[in-house]
């Protein structure tokens, strides 16, 4: 599957479930993103920006 590379971070993630799914879909490692919302809360725009700036997660190959 295309998304298989983006990993689920171990620690607490401050983003909603749908944003986390969007990150995976975009192949972005959400654990690496500094959110722009209050307290670092991650928004859809943060994911889009990370995806377009090529801030990719771990290699897109299944483990």
């Amino acid at each position: 599957s295309p998304d298989a590379g983006s990993e689920v971070p171990d620690g607490r993630v401050f983003a909603s479930p749908s944003i986390r799914r969007e990150a995976r879909q975009a192949g972005v490692d959400i654990g690496e993103i500094e959110g722009s919302g209050p307290g670092g809360w991650i928004t859809a725009a943060d994911i889009q920006q990370a995806a377009s700036s090529g801030e990719q997660a771990s290699p897109a190959v299944p483990d």
Binding site: S1, P2, A4, R12, A15, R21, P38, G39
Partner: protein, 476 residues
């Protein structure tokens, strides 16, 4: 899939129809997979047939009778009689309705249902042995498999469930009369839930626990009200005692225990029956995992990754067989994710928290981090609490034991978890669970208008207490 002697094929083979397996199968069907679900005993697995559902049915029914029988304070005078046989019939009807529902939902979602035991014979091949006489067996080739074979109660030396006075939880839930006396070995959630049921049926209940408290694994201040209430029902507790065996006596049996502490003595407890509820272990001996090359860990669980995959990429494991916490809703989530991953969706086990509930009186509900867990995870925790005795709604129901606690990150206010002991604790944690998943802050929870008078206001007040300005309790 056609049932017969010839080899048949399926995209997704799901083994076991508990809340892990049947949910996986339904979701796979919804995602247009060709899916086959094999179950050797009963649709719905342990949960619907011998676990969650029958236990909650008996807890509720005995609770209704007990509550009405003890409401003189409210001006209610009643002396309810419980006909255990009728109660069991009612409970069986509930179970029936739900298991038939599972079957119908599977069919409506194009799941091929097969009755029998499935056993791997290769990496992409399983044999299904049908249960009925002369039903034969067949070979199934699969692209993907989901192992959802569940768990069974652990047996301890000296107590065989085959012996008539020794019960596991399944047998206890099926009894059509209440024993005069019952020793329960194990004060975990299953033991404590059943202690309440039998105590309310009039059974003389004694609980023997190896460790030093009820509900080990839950924080002491959550467990305390549960123990206190059980004692008020007449339940006796012996901690630091391990049950070693039993023998017949003139009018029942005697259960023997060994003391953990050197200075303490073992016990000899007279009783009619003994229920052993010391934990559950994964079921893998029915399915021949080695034949498919699937590995297990030293406790017998099947290790999986964040996509519910085993060491074999095309074979998944979900539910109790895949490890702790052994809870129905954890299994269902894993089942959904396994099916979605197989269908190529960007799904993962990326939840922040798995809630859990204990249906004792009072109930316990927890989700996410405790204070200690938050500290371990590197947070500086901020805590808010609200006692139910300050809740208008709790007072109007007469159930005021317990409290709501919220744990948040002091820096940004994000809700990290919550612990509730008290009325409807199992329901109240739903909102806290959503707060954890959404990364809501305590301010978010505090600012959300909650209906008056409800128990859920207590969640809001706990959030306000964390912020130092609760209205209905003094702020620390």
């Amino acid at each position: 899939m056609v049932v017969g002697d010839v080899a048949t094929g399926t995209d997704v083979l799901v083994i076991g129809a508990g809340p892990g397996g049947y949910v996986a199968a339904i979701r796979a069907g919804q995602l247009d997979q060709d899916v086959t679900l094999v179950e050797k005993e009963a649709y719905g697995g342990v949960c619907l047939n011998h676990g969650c559902i029958p236990s909650k049915a008996l807890i509720t029914a005995t609770g209704v009778a007990h509550e009405a029988g003890h409401a003189e304070e409210m001006g209610i005078h009643a002396d309810p009689e419980i006909d255990v046989g009728e109660m069991q019939e009612w409970k069986d009807g509930v179970v029936d309705q739900l298991t038939r529902g599972v079957e119908k939902l599977c069919k409506a979602n194009q799941v091929n249902l097969v009755e029998g035991r499935a056993e791997f014979v290769g990496e992409h091949e399983a044999r299904v042995v049908h249960s009925g006489e002369g039903q034969g067996a067949e070979t199934v080739e699969f692209e993907h498999a989901i192992v959802a074979t569940g768990s069974r109660p652990i047996e301890i030396p000296g107590f065989s469930y085959a012996d008539e006075p020794v019960l596991d939880s399944k047998q206890a839930l099926a009894m059509d009369g209440a024993p005069d006396s019952l020793v329960i070995v194990g004060a975990g959630y299953i033991g404590m839930e059943l202690a309440g049921v039998f105590a309310k049926l009039g059974t003389d209940v004694t609980v023997v626990e190896m460790l030093d408290s009820v509900l080990p694994g839950y924080e002491a201040d959550l467990a305390r009200p549960v123990k206190k209430h059980a004692e008020s029902l007449g339940v006796d507790f012996h901690f630091g005692q391990s049950a070693t065996g039993w023998e017949e006596s003139d009018d029942g049996i005697i259960v023997h225990t060994d003391a953990a502490g050197d200075d303490d003595e073992g016990l000899s407890l007279d009783t009619e029956k003994v229920l052993v509820a010391v934990g559950r272990q994964p079921v893998t001996d029915t399915v021949d995992l080695p034949a498919a090359g699937v590995e297990t860990d030293d406790r017998g669980f099947v290790p999986t990754d964040d996509r519910a995959r085993t060491n074999k990429d095309h074979i998944f494991a979900v539910g109790d067989v895949a490890g702790e916490p052994m809870l129905a809703h954890k299994g269902s989530k894993e089942g959904q994710v396994a099916a979605e991953v197989i269908a190529g969706e960007p799904a993962a086990l990326d939840y922040q928290a798995i809630p859990s509930a204990v249906f004792t009186e009072p109930e316990i509900g927890t989700v996410g981090m405790t204070v200690a867990e938050a500290e371990d995870a590197g947070f500086e925790p901020m805590v808010g609490e609200f006692p139910f005795r300050a809740s208008g709604r709790a007072l109007t129901t007469g159930e005021t034991d317990g409290f709501v606690r919220l744990v948040a990150d002091a820096e940004d206010g994000f809700v990290l978890g919550g612990q509730v002991v008290g009325p409807e604790a199992s329901e109240l944690i739903a909102e806290i669970g959503l707060a954890v998943e959404m990364a809501a802050t305590v301010e978010d929870v505090a600012s959300t208008i909650h209906t008056h008078p409800t128990l859920s206001e207590s969640v809001m007040e706990a959030a306000e207490n964390a912020l130092g300005h609760a209205i209905h309790t003094l702020n620390r």
